[in-house]
């Protein structure tokens, strides 16, 4: 097959209240942005289990965006702070796995920030275009070990999340 220009695939986890609405607003305002992102709605960015991100990367995504309400504006009061904390540890793991940090991005977008979200998506797409394809899925075997490994990682993460109240 002839070489087609690399089009990154990005999975976007958007929270129901702010960032998904920002995407809606970008739509109603007809703001054109890179079609490389495929979005998935969760109620809160706090729902984004690190395994979701790893799963997406393992499944062939070249990058993952987690988007939530701005700190202090979370619909669930403070859950995006937990996302933030979790994100720091996720990045740590990604480094350990040899994955470029830029492939996973945490983006705040309020329901009014359609323009900003679209700009962030464009920026991320260009960044990943420069990094090139991840092809991480090639590193995982097909016979179920993949999930096991991810689950093991998840467990480590959850333990790391244990922070005294």
């Amino acid at each position: 097959m002839s070489e087609e220009p690399f089009e990154p695939k990005i999975v976007g986890f958007l929270c129901n209240w702010c960032s998904y609405r920002a995407a809606d607003l970008a739509g109603t305002s007809r703001i054109k942005y890179a079609p490389n992102i495929r979005t998935l709605r969760v109620m809160c960015s706090g729902r984004v289990d690190p395994t979701f991100v790893l799963k997406a990367l393992a499944q062939g995504a070249d990058g993952v965006m987690i988007a939530g309400c701005h700190p202090g504006e979370c619909h669930y009061l403070e859950q995006n702070y937990k996302t933030m904390r979790r994100f720091g540890m996720l990045k740590h793991t990604l480094r350990a796995l040899g994955i470029e940090e830029e492939r996973v991005r945490l983006q705040w977008a309020s329901a009014a920030e359609g323009v900003q979200l679209a700009a962030a998506i464009n920026e991320m797409v260009e960044q990943i275009r420069r990094l090139g394809p991840l092809h991480w899925s090639g590193n995982w075997s097909e016979d179920g070990e993949r999930l096991e490994a991810i689950e093991k990682l998840a467990e480590e993460h959850a333990q790391a999340m244990e922070v005294p109240a």
Partner: protein, 682 residues
């Protein structure tokens, strides 16, 4: 349109429906081939159709018929955002006997056709979103919403005209209302105004009867000089904690006679009601018609609190209502719904130093000028310069001070053009001064407004189109000495002009309250970029918010005039009234559940829940989630190391499946076959 037998690996029978949305989607995405592709390539799809408008009754009937005839067990609609029509299609499913939570929506309009330039790329993205929805829907489970009762009492926060209207509508309908006001009296900004445009009704004359109605209504409990400190609970049963600031006046004993105010020796500049132009006493009522009638003792300026002696008010009070020992008190209220009508702040004109406010005496803000015109104001309605005696011979009105200005607020404040015309009329009615308006565009869009503008043109108000560059007292030309000079580019003449005047009025912008974001957070609602409260839908749901049971009315939602604020107040009341009449409300069953048999009792989840919905049961050694308190964010689900918590409608299985679908065309391994090929040949 395609139809195909269900696959052997997926036992569910999925129906896929692709909406054209006229040309909104079909103009960019090839909807027919998308439907065909879904029918041929996605596992479990037995019916796949495209239709002009899925949300129309015919579109919905299409789904209902297929559920019945084709025995669909899952439905996917590719159309607009789920925030618009998820309810519509859930209802259609329910009508045909399918649990509404077995439906999934893919937004191929907001997320694809409207935001993608290239048609082929739009097609590819639409396929991914549909694939994600189909993969996910198979794992969705039937859910039942819980029905909870609605407390018939309502909390209205803010006693301006919007809040007053909302409270009266509900109270007249027979429902109890708690009205909380931060200031000593209700009335809001409208109580400060002199006349209202375009009819020139006296503002106080039309407002004060409504205020006293609030004060006397058997169904309204008015709590003034108080603030909401904390809100907990959910639609139907909110719990609000109020801090009632110490008035140092016992409301149960005070008759409102006003002797204390008369006898108080301390005069203070009134920065709030008189906009700094007038004075009040240390114990005061903001204005004579204040509701409630009880005065407030301003501790910061009271001679007794400052020096330990005086107590003139206490000495002369005929009913011994003064209480220097009074403390702030807390009040706990249970309500079913909350209406926020917290209003606005005026833009601080000193932020535009070139207009000279605060430096040049005879530059006034629009709020100051309202007080100047008002017969009950500090000058008894005489329009005079800052010296208090000289009548101006010429007045300049500067529009858009802080509004439509990239340095301050990009939005139009919506009321200033009409207020400027009103000022023009009042000046010409009361004085012989010439009035010139400096505008960018004159905006007079509502009933009777354009006619009022015509009237002012006839009455002889002058209009110069141009944004004022500077207001200065530095005279350069003869005739400018001792005057304020307005420097402007007249964009109709295309040249610079200098106009010497005696007085300048700055039409200051309406801004969100300084603490709007904080207040929004307290009530669980968000603000726009500018800081106005965000409504559920800008056109079709303007007074509801994203939090069920919390409504907004008036300028706190965005700049608007009195009629529009009244309309919103009434609209919010109608929405609340509807909830109360129905008596119960359905709560989304999207909650987390802990499976006790898997819970290790590690308590990691306990500290993650901001709603205290998770408790640890010592006896059993496991954690437990109270579904009534759970809001369904899913943070605990993501954190449980044992995987013992499941999130309804957002389970790991469902999300993993969606991710897989979204990446249906991703290349696995190093250039190996695409996932889709696998699933087709499977």
């Amino acid at each position: 349109m395609g139809s195909r037998k269900g696959s052997e690996t997926v036992s569910e029978r999925v129906g896929v429906y692709i909406c054209h949305c006229g040309s909104n989607i079909a103009g960019k995405v090839d909807v027919e081939s998308l439907a065909k592709w879904a029918g041929e390539n996605l596992e479990g799809v037995v019916v796949s159709r495209d239709y002009k408008f899925m949300c129309s009754s015919l579109g919905q009937e299409l789904i209902e018929e297929d559920i019945k005839k084709e025995g669909l067990t899952r439905v996917v609609v590719g159309a607009c955002s789920p925030h618009l029509h998820e309810k519509t299609f859930r209802r259609a499913c329910a009508n045909a006997g399918l649990n509404p939570y077995l439906f999934q929506m893919a937004s191929i309009r907001e997320q694809v056709s409207w935001v993608t330039a290239d048609k082929d790329l739009a097609d590819a993205k639409a396929r991914a979103l549909i694939a994600g929805a189909v993969k996910r829907v198979v794992y969705q489970e039937p859910l039942q919403p819980t029905e909870v009762p609605v407390n018939p009492n309502t909390l209205v926060v803010g006693g301006g005209i919007a809040g007053i209207q909302a409270a009266l509508e509900l109270a007249d309908a027979g429902y109890h209302v708690y009205m909380v006001e931060r200031e000593p009296s209700i009335g809001g900004h409208m109580a400060q105004f002199d006349k209202t445009f375009p009819t020139l009704d006296c503002s106080a004359c039309i407002l004060t009867p409504k205020m006293s109605e609030v004060g006397q209504h058997e169904n309204i409990t008015l709590i003034s000089y108080a603030e909401v400190e904390e809100v907990t609970g959910f639609v139907g049963s909110f719990h609000a904690r109020l801090r009632k600031k110490a008035r140092y006046v016992k409301e149960e004993d005070c008759t409102g006679c006003g002797i204390c105010i008369e006898k108080c020796p301390k005069k203070v500049i009134d920065d709030v009601f008189e906009a700094g132009l007038g004075k009040r006493k240390a114990i005061y009522r903001p204005f004579p018609q204040a509701v409630p009638k009880y005065p407030v003792l301003d501790r910061e300026n009271c001679t007794y609190f400052l020096k330990g002696t005086c107590k003139a008010c206490e000495k002369f009070c005929p009913t011994n209502a003064i209480d220097f020992e009074q403390q702030d008190t807390y009040l706990d209220l249970d309500v079913g719904n909350i209406i926020l009508a917290t209003g606005f702040d005026a833009f601080d004109a000193t932020r535009i130093p070139q207009y000279g406010y605060g430096r040049l005496a005879n530059v006034f803000t629009s709020l100051e000028f309202e007080r100047l015109c008002n017969a009950a104001g500090p000058t008894d309605g005489k329009i005079v310069l800052r010296d208090g005696v000289t009548e101006p011979k010429s007045i300049a009105v500067v529009h858009c001070v802080g509004s439509r200005d990239q340095h301050h607020h990009p939005y139009c404040s919506a009321v200033c053009c009409m207020a400027a015309l009103k000022f023009g009329h009042l000046v010409m009615e009361k004085t012989s001064a010439a009035v010139t308006s400096f505008y960018i565009d004159l905006r007079t869009p509502a009933k009777g407004y354009e006619e009022f503008y015509d009237r002012l043109l006839e009455e002889g108000m002058h209009f110069v189109r141009g944004k004022v560059a500077e207001v200065t007292d530095a005279a350069r030309l003869p005739g400018e000495e001792g005057k304020l000079i307005v420097q402007v580019e007249d964009t109709l003449l295309g040249k610079q002009r200098r106009l010497p005047v005696d007085m300048v009025i700055l039409m200051t912008a309406l801004e969100p309250r300084k603490d709007a974001r904080e207040v929004g957070l307290r009530f669980g609602i968000s603000c726009s970029m500018d800081g106005w409260f965000t409504e559920r839908h800008p056109k079709l749901d303007p007074v509801a918010t994203m939090t069920d049971g919390i409504f907004v009315a008036g300028v706190c939602q965005g700049p608007k005039d009195i009629p529009a604020s009244v309309v919103q107040g009434a609209a919010a009341a109608a929405r609340v009234g509807g909830m109360i009449t129905k008596g119960t409300v359905l709560i989304e069953p999207i909650v987390a559940t802990i499976h006790a048999e898997h819970c290790s009792g590690c308590r990691i989840c306990n500290s993650l829940c901001p709603f205290n919905a998770i408790e640890f049961k010592e006896a059993e050694g496991v954690s437990y989630i109270n579904a009534a308190l759970c809001k369904g964010c899913g943070t605990c689900v993501a954190a449980c190391p044992a995987g013992a918590i499941s999130g309804a409608h957002f389970s790991n299985k469902q999300i993993f499946a969606e991710v897989e679908g979204l990446l249906f065309d991703a290349i696995r391994g190093n250039g190996a076959k695409a996932l889709v090929a696998e699933s087709v040949t499977a």
